[in-house]
Every structure is written in C-alpha cells, then in structure tokens.
Amino acid sequence: MKSDRVFQSFPVTADTHTLDAYRARGGYGGLTKALTAMQPLEVEQQVAASGLQGRGGAGFGVGQKWSFVSKKSPVVYLCCNADEGEPGTFKDRWILEHSPHQLLEGMLLASYALRVRHAFVYIRGEFDLPLRRLQGALQEARAAGLVGERILGTDFSCDIVIHRGAGAYVCGEESSLLNSLEGKKGYPRNKPPFPAIKGLYQRPTVVNNVETLSAVPWIIVNGGPAYAAMGVKKNPGTRLFGLSGHVDRPGIYERPTGYPLKKLLFEDAGGVLGGKALKAVIPGGSSTPILTAAEAEHLTLDAEALSKAGSMLGSGAIIVIAEGTCMVRLLQVLTRFYSHESCGQCTPCREGTDWMNRILQRILAGQGTAADLVSLQEIPQAIMGKTICALGDAASMPVLSFIKKFGPEFQHYIEHGRSVHDGRLTV
C-alpha cells in the first residue's frame, strides 16, 4: 500500500473491487497478521495509538469508543454504519463500490479486537451498486474462508450480515440505527446508556462508519503510530473529502487532514464551475455551519481549524457555492430536508423543523416579514441542545449560519418579495 493513501492507493478499474484485486494490493494482510501474530487487545491498542477519529461526522475517538466495551461481556455486536445520508456525502459509497473488501477486512479486525461473533452492515436501502458490490465481496470472502467459522484456520469466527435500511436519514444516527436494526422505527435513544454499554438488543455494541472501519487494515499493517504521523496531530490520518455543487471536477479526494481547502478546490478539483467566483462553502455536510468565501480563503481541512472558523469537519463533504446563488432558496432546500427527516419523537425537532421550513416557504412566496428573521434566530436556538439526538442541532445550524453570513439577501427577499439572484441555484 502506498504509504500516504489509505483508500485511494490504486487506480480504479472494472475489477479493482474484487477479492483477487484486493489481495494483489496487499488486502487481508492486516487480518492475517492480526489473527496469527496479535492478541485482540493489541489490535485495539494499535487503533488507539493511531488516533483515528470517527469518520461519520461526530469525530469521536475510535480507540476510546472501543475501550468502553466490557471485556467480560459474553455477547458484543459490531455495526458498520453504511447509511450514508448527510447531504453532500458520498465517500462511503466510494469504498463500497471500489474497495468493499477493505471494509470487510476492517470489520473483521474490529470484530477480532472486540470479540464480536456477529457483525452487521446497516446499509441505506436506496443504495444500488454499492449494495451489489458489497454483497459480491461478502460472497467472495465467505467462499475464501475469510468470513464465517474458523477464519484463516484460526479460532476466530465471525459472520457478517448485510441489513438494508428503508429510507431515513436519521438512521445514520447510531442509536437510531440500532432501533432500526431491531425492527422498529428509527427513533434515536436517550443516552445514557450508550451503545457500548447497552446497544443492539441491549448488548454492548460498537457502531462505526464505513470509512472508519476501512482505515483499520492500513493501521494494522503499518502500525498505529504511522497513521498518527499523517495529517494533523490532534486529528490525524487521511480523509475522503467529497466535493460537490458548483465545482468543476466533483468527486472523492483522499487527502491528509490539514490540507488547504483552497488547494483542494482550485488546484485538485478544477475550481468553481464555469470559472465563477466562490461565494460560500459548506465544509462538512449540510449540517455544518456555512462559511463565506473569505472565511474559506485560508482554511485547512482539520477539526481544530474548522472549529476556530465556527464550523465543523463533519463528514468531509464540501459543498461549493458559486457567486449568484440565491441563499434564501438554498436554505429552504435544507429546511425542507430536515423537516422531512425529523423522526417525530421529540418536541423541539418535530415541531421546530417544520416551523422553520414553513417560514422559509412563506418568505419564498413573497410573504415574509421582519419578525420572521427574529423567529429564525429564536427557533434554532430553542431547538439546539434540547433534543434527543443531533438532528435538531443539524437542522438549526444551517439556519443560523446562512442568515448570519448572508443576512442582507434574506432582508432583501422579505422587503421586496423576491430574490436578489432571481432565485438561481445553478451556475
């Protein structure tokens, strides 16, 4: 494996997702090493030493999460969160389509470390090719004795079940995912207890994102410290950044953390579509606060820098917005999304997301008032920090940040009953 690429270490062709191709590039070397020469605890320690943080969006320390699982529990479950649904995010899909065995190997390594006998991939119900590629990989792996009883002839046995979701963004939240896996609506759970203590069917469970688990083979082969040496110290490794929106070459770009956003956008990805000026960037998926072009100018793609800029690294999904885009209409695309996806369980999100969306709709219909801008400050503030899960916060941050950074556009729409930019969303 190329040392600075955990994922995109090979050119993608028609066969690179197969078992043979994966093996040819060193695949399952990590698993072999772990099963023959390492104890489960050592695998966990290497992951802890790597400093790997969750790649789903929350960024929680993986080693820390694994350490919460009791070593004494007779049953532990592992769930891979493949419910990729954060708008702008399409990186897990990249792994499932082009290197599904990498995920399987990562899951097997995690299962070995955590003493998991049954692991699950919760994959969003809509996925087409990613599902088929994963199913194909699982079949190959089973046939090759890499999944199932006595893997590679050792005492370690582990089965993997692919479980499809059925259309719900909130099921990407780990406790919602668990309820969904248990055959119920994807209502998130109150915490405590946390899944590592009481998760799937009340057993200790670790839920990790696709990209997170897929980084584990590299860590085992090259060692935790080698991973920690990549990127930025407090937020190490590489990430699969996704560029979408008004960008010339949208796609997935693996870069070390700390990589300059400007370089990624303008050098690697061809810059803003149609050579337009950059207006704004949503740096980590639609739930992260939007940044103006000025704020994005010197930004490096690491957690601390994003936090200082008042936003978050999130899922690494960078949505690019060109000059001339109507921010009022764009915000309503998001408020409509969050109100559609609110599960309905808790009061602030259930009522508040629809409330915000209806206000935006009224503004777009030319019937906005100045009081609406006050409401669009108060409502998100009333929701934030008061909900069972982060969807409430996710729905609130775009509203607060869009209006904070592009207030005049909203004021104009309210005063004149129409958009400054003729309601344009495309370039």
Binding site: A168, K185, N190, P192, S339, H340, E341, S342, C343, G344, Q345, C346, T347, P348, R350, E351, G352, T353, D354, W355, R358, I359, R362, T369, A371, D372, S375, E378, A382, G385, K386, T387, I388
Partner: protein, 470 residues
Amino acid sequence: MKLTIDQREIEALDGENVLQAAKRHGIEIPHFCYHDKLSVAGNCRMCLVKVNGLPKLMPACNLPVAPKMNIETQCDEVHKARKQVMQFILLNHPVDCGICDKAGECTLQDNQVRYGSPESRSAEPKLHQRKLFALSPRISLDNERCILCSRCVRFTSEISGSNALGIVDRGCHSYVERVSSQPFDDPYSDNVIGLCPTGALLSADFLYKSRVWFLEPVRSVCTGCSRGCSVDAWRRMKVREPKAPGMPQPQVYRISAHDNPEINGPWLCNKGFDLAKAMARERPLQPTLAGQPASGAAAVAQARRLLAEAQKPALLVSAHASNEELDACRDALQALGGRVTAYVRQDVQPAAGEVLQDALLIRADKNPNSFGVQARFGSAAFDATAGHDLVIVWGEFTDFASLGEVRTVHLSTFGPAPGARIDVALPVSTTFERAGSFSNFEGKRNTFVAVHDKPPEVQHAADVFRSLFS
C-alpha cells in the same frame, strides 16, 4: 447518597432518577411523558434541568442520581427552556379547552399556565389532524390535542400487553393510531384516558357530561372481582348542584383508578371503569311479598314469621357483602344459637367472554369479598340434600330452582331473575350507598365510603339482619 437540588442537599436512593428524587422531596419538575410505571421515553423535553453547571441541559427523567450531583431547576436557563418547549408543544395544538373535557385536570393546561408564555410566536396556520375519532366504542381520540408523549403506546406495550396503539408516519405528521383491522378491545384500554396528559384520549361514556370542576372524587372499591381495586367515584359537588331542574343527572358521573400501591397501583380494568354503570342498572326499589309490592316493615315481618316456622333454615351468604355487613350478620345469627346453617358461595360467576384471570389485575373470582366471607363463615357450599325448608339468599342469585322445595327470602340489589318464585324480596343497598370494607384475595383490606344516599325503600342488609335474627 447526597446530592444538591436548588441549593438544597437531599438524600437520594440508588437507582432513582433526578425527577423521582426531586419529587420525593417536594420539588416538582414539570413533565408530560414520564410515568414511573412506564419505561422512560424522554421525548417531551419538559423536564430539562441544569446539571453540574454544564452548558447542555439534561432531561431529569433519564438522569440517574449520582453522589455530589448539583441540579438546578430554578435558574434562568431552565425557565427559558420550559417556555421554549411549551411553545413547541402548543405550536399545532388546537387549544380548544373551551370544548375539551380535560379542562381543569389537564397537565398541558397546568404546565402552560405555570411555565409557558402567554402568546404563540408562530404566524403559521396550525397543522390539522383527526378529531373525535372512535379509537374504540369506549375511547374518543383527538389527534390534534395529542402531544405524542407515547404514554398510551407504552401502556399497551408494557402494561396491558395488547400492543394495540402505536405512532405512525413521521415528524410533525405523526399521530397515534391503532391497527384498523384490530379493534382496541384491550380489557385495560381505559387506563390510557387517565394517563393522557391532554384531552387527546377521552372517555366516550363521560364525553360532554360535566365540567370536572363541578365534580369531586369519593374513595370506593370495585366489586368486579376479588382484586378489589381502589377507585374514585366522581359525584357532583353539593355546592355545584344545578340550580334549576334540568336534565336528570347521573349520581356517579365516572369512575377513575385510585392509585393504591398495595393493590392495583395506578391501574384499573375496564370492568372497574364501568362500575358506575353497573351500579346504575335497573333495580327493584320496593320490597315484595310473593311478587306483590309491600312496605319494608311488612316484608321484614313476614320474613321473621317464615323464620320462626322453619324447621331447618339456611342462609346463603353474599360474597359481595362488606366486612361490616358480614360482622353484623354473624353477630345477629349468634343470637339465634346456631339455628340457621350458613353456607357460602360466589354470587357472581364470570360472564361469557369475560376475561377470567390475568397477570395484571383481573381475578377469576368475580366477587369482592370471598376472603371476608370465608374468614367468618367457612367454605361450605349449599347442600340441597340437607332438608332445608327455608333459604335466606343474600346477594345476586338466579337459580332458585336448584334450592328445591323451599320458602325463600331474597336480599339483593338488582333483583332475582324474572319469573322466580320469591316469598319475600328485600332490596338492599349497593357499595356506593354505605361505608365499609372488603378483604381482597390476598386478605388486604380496602375501605370505601358512601358516594350517595340509598333509595328510601331500599334497606341496608345489616339492618335487615338485625331485625330478622333478633
């Protein structure tokens, strides 16, 4: 362990949550969805409190007590959060208190008045939902008033086990529903009415009959089975009697469960909820002699005559009798020195289709005081071969033919089956018409007081026995 709530150090119990601990010390933390007999839902967000100075407020219902924890329920942040939550809860609520039965005993009203803001901050038209939906013949559901606390859902899932109710659809369009092809005939269905913190779930029977502030609860005991659940019988307050004659008013407007940790907890079965209806059935208001109306004095006199003439009189004791009535009867009988043979029986047998016995409340013995009867009179059942010539039957009874060729005196509330040949029929009072107690199947004593007066020509059984056996 010790922790601090609002600068007050209190003692908390292991395994409690902060809401429970606070309540035990008289600190009310407002809430809708929490109920200590149901799992924690944590969805209403009304009970948010400040913990250990941390910026994020936590729901007290899901917060296990911990030593040295510092809780604030009266700071500005918490006050503000409560106002905000009330705004969200009422956003699409119809606020039709003017036509809602729950007014006056509504948690939503109470919390809004205490913790909410006077005005809605919304300029949007309210979302509408189904109203006046017959969830069952007994329960009316108004989905607009519902705040989706899920208490009713959790009740049918965790307590009654019928799993009849759920919440379907998503987000602000979700609503409480049942499977349309499965009637909500859960024998405990009516508990959701009391559980509901709003006027979403209402008793169809009580619908529009009275404003609750005209009524007062009176402690009584259900007579439906040997569990003897505590109930409240609601009557109109004397100071609220209608001034002018109008529509006839029921004596008891409704029955609700009375929380009795010893016997039924906060629950009651539907038969218990129907107790007032059962007590209000048509009944004889006048004694009869051989089917002809007679005065109470004449009837008792005739009964005394029959008793004096009888060679071998028997008494069938009622399992609906209160302990006090049973004492009066036994004491009066002792004066006769064993002349009358007392037998016991279970007056009421399960009706066709009635739940026999379950793991929650319902018992197979459909009589409230078999325990009290057996403690005083033993367990001998009536012996038709023993040559009795007079049988005094106490309690509901239909099979007079099975007694054989005997003279009969019948003390009952609801009268014998039509066509029965009774020598002396003496209507006696119901549980609602006197004070007393029952001993349930576990021997636990439960007392009741009179809810209303008895009809003038109806007597108390204890008085009848005192006259009869002296």
